[in-house]
Amino acid sequence: MDFKQDVDRADGPGKCAGKTRYVRDLHIEGALEAVTIRSTVRRGIIREIILPEVPAGCFFAGASDIPGVNQVAYFRNPCPYFAEAEVAYIGQPILLAVGPDIGRARRLARQTRVVCEERPAIHTLEEALESSGEGGKPPLYGNDNVYVDETFAYGDVNRAFADAAQVFETTTRTCAQEHFYLEPQGVVAVPEGDRMIVYASTQGPHAMRLTVAAALGWPPERVRVRQTPLGGGFGGKIEPPFLIAGQAAVAANKCGRPVRLFYSRDEDMRATTKRHPSRVMVRSALDEKGNILAVDIDLVFQAGGYALSCAMVLDTGLKKATGVYHFPAARARGRAVATNNPMNGAFRGFGGPQAFFAIESHMNALARKLGRDPFDFKANYFIRQGDHTLTGGTYHFHVALPEVIASVKEQAEYATLSAAPPANPGRLRGVGQALFNFGAPFTVDTNAPLPKRYIGLLKREDGVVEILSELVDMGQGLHTAFRKIAAKTLDIPIERIVHHDADTDRVPEASITGASMSVVLFGRTLQNAAEKLKPRLCEPGEVRVLEPVEQPGHLSWDAAAQRGDPFHSYVWGAVIAEVEVDVTTCQVSVKNLWTTLDVGTAIDRRLIRGQIEGGSVQGLGYGLLEFMPPDAVTASLADYIVPTFLDVPPIESAIVENPYPPGPYGAKCVGEPPLVGIAPAIADAVSNACGVEIDRLPILPEDLMRKMREKP
């Protein structure tokens, strides 16, 4: 197996032909349909639920039908499956209405009235921070509305600010971003004997098995999760599927019949997780010449009505807050605050897009203010191998920033690009750049034993080798990458290797699929498993190898103290963007994007290109189009604007191969990084085109026009 040779995905032809069975496409005999009855108020106490007369064959399911725990047990701060006394956001599930068809289930839901006594709701991030003060609204969580508050620092930051000749400050804001996976959320729960089978579009089959079991109050063995092909995930099919799988299972358990729970698009947009809106203040202490003495960062994420995974997302963003720089001293404080908005959660980039928009905008604005070339200015602070991280760990391996920058400049012909005049009259033109890194996976406490996790291989009697992993191919091509790694190690044709969608009865627990850890960590476990299987390939009958997941030996992480190496490995990347701004409308169009990414070793260049281009366009949407109001959700694609074929410029990408020794054949990750640098690079280009600083995403023409009018 030569990694340089692209391999066709096994699922491609079936997807083209429409033969791939997504969860909605399964025919399950006798299945009932469920519709969610939701809160219509932001915050309140449920006083009464007035149920209509229930026709034969219909029923309701709610908190009182949960035999186990009414909490989605996966999260540090759980949210209830069904609201009991209080509701914390518009759209919060209260009951399921179940009927023999969707029409009757909907009618039942429409006829149900939930009487709520409204309470003063916390609408925005700012309100959440103020509500603990005098005259504020009653806090939603604790005394101060803050789910998480943590700080990482090194050096004497206070001293540096005391000594500073000047302080430079920027504040950036970002809004919620909708995943918009093309396939809305959906599960089917099927009771079979004393077990519950859940068919689900999920990024975490085994984790779902555990959460559903906890809801039913059953031992996990009685639950089987069969992951159906995902019509996109991007992190959005980590948390919400746990919630709806638990609900459907409770309903199915109540009636003893299969229950389908499928979200419509507007319901999905209204009620499921989004990327956390953010406000990030970055202050730098400068000496007389403009050199940075210290950086102080205050990052706030708006987490919505329940915390969900905000602690992890915030933590990850915070650990990346100083970007690709090592300053003489730095401090980063992060808070995730409670508001009466739908819950936010995991989304490709996982805290990185907000953090990198903040730090890159700060560095770019400072370079502009000082009249310095941004690449030269930033190079003074680049992280180098051996430097310590914000958490006191070490950058153990080569930092490929110089190569990455040289490559992206060469691709874009940067020297002449900046000087070129606009192609069209009535347009302003600008070139911008952004640098980023992406640490992944998170390091798990090295002072405690690792939880037992496995990747397996099964050589079947017919000689075919099946990869036994729960890791999900949600379109990114993970199964192809895994098959290539196995084929190379086993030195057999890739056609002999299969990797099915996960079935928790067949495959061991490994992890949810997310945080860009699948190839770099579990891919290595797979390689190790294949090395063990290889000498046994010719044995007759079945041969099974189960390889435990281990963390590489170079890592140290003290979870209690939050000190050490936060991530296993780092991808280094750079983006150059060229934009034009229409002076009539202040609309920004991206003319070109160039990305260079250090992926370690490239397992499949075509798949990597798919990740870079797809991530870039999600980043472009985040940067320019995808607006949601700070205290409301846009529930229609007519108003939530995602890029189309016509909004996308030529995207060129290059790879720097800087192998990471503990990864499989030196590979790092590639799923999330391509998104994070795009919006900051576009913002920089718009700033250069228009002569104003961009401090908010997306860059709406309404805001840009106001800025340009107010420009001194």
Partner: protein, 158 residues
Amino acid sequence: MIRYISFELNGQAVGVETPPEARLVDVLRENFGLTGTKEGCGEGECGACMILLDGRPALSCLVAVGAVRSRRITTIEGLLPTAGFDILSRAFNEVGAVQCGFCTPGMIMTAYALLRDNPRPDQAAIRAAMAGNLCRCTGYNMIVEAITLAASRRSEAW
């Protein structure tokens, strides 16, 4: 009110008893089991439910089944035996234009109609024709390349 509505579906005369107000996408998926037609938004914004109505791309979530009486419907299943589908499918796979796949049948429906009407579209024509098909995985350019590649292999396929 239930009525009997007859039309041509993938080359065959069919009929269905249904309220004429029912959405075509539901009738295709539920009454005929043609699940290659996907519903991504239900409001005509995403193109995952694209079918051909009298040969032209139409959004089956915005069509009431009553409106297709005596008309001709083609779904992805109806394209499968054609050389055009084969060329498009191979091109999509070769270029890497398929990721999660949920938008793909709709993409192929629109691309098929485009190439039938305009055998050698340039990039701009492809993007314009495909503007109503959303994809969240690929970033689109690989799909444009796939359609260009399919066009270059076009013989008598359409």
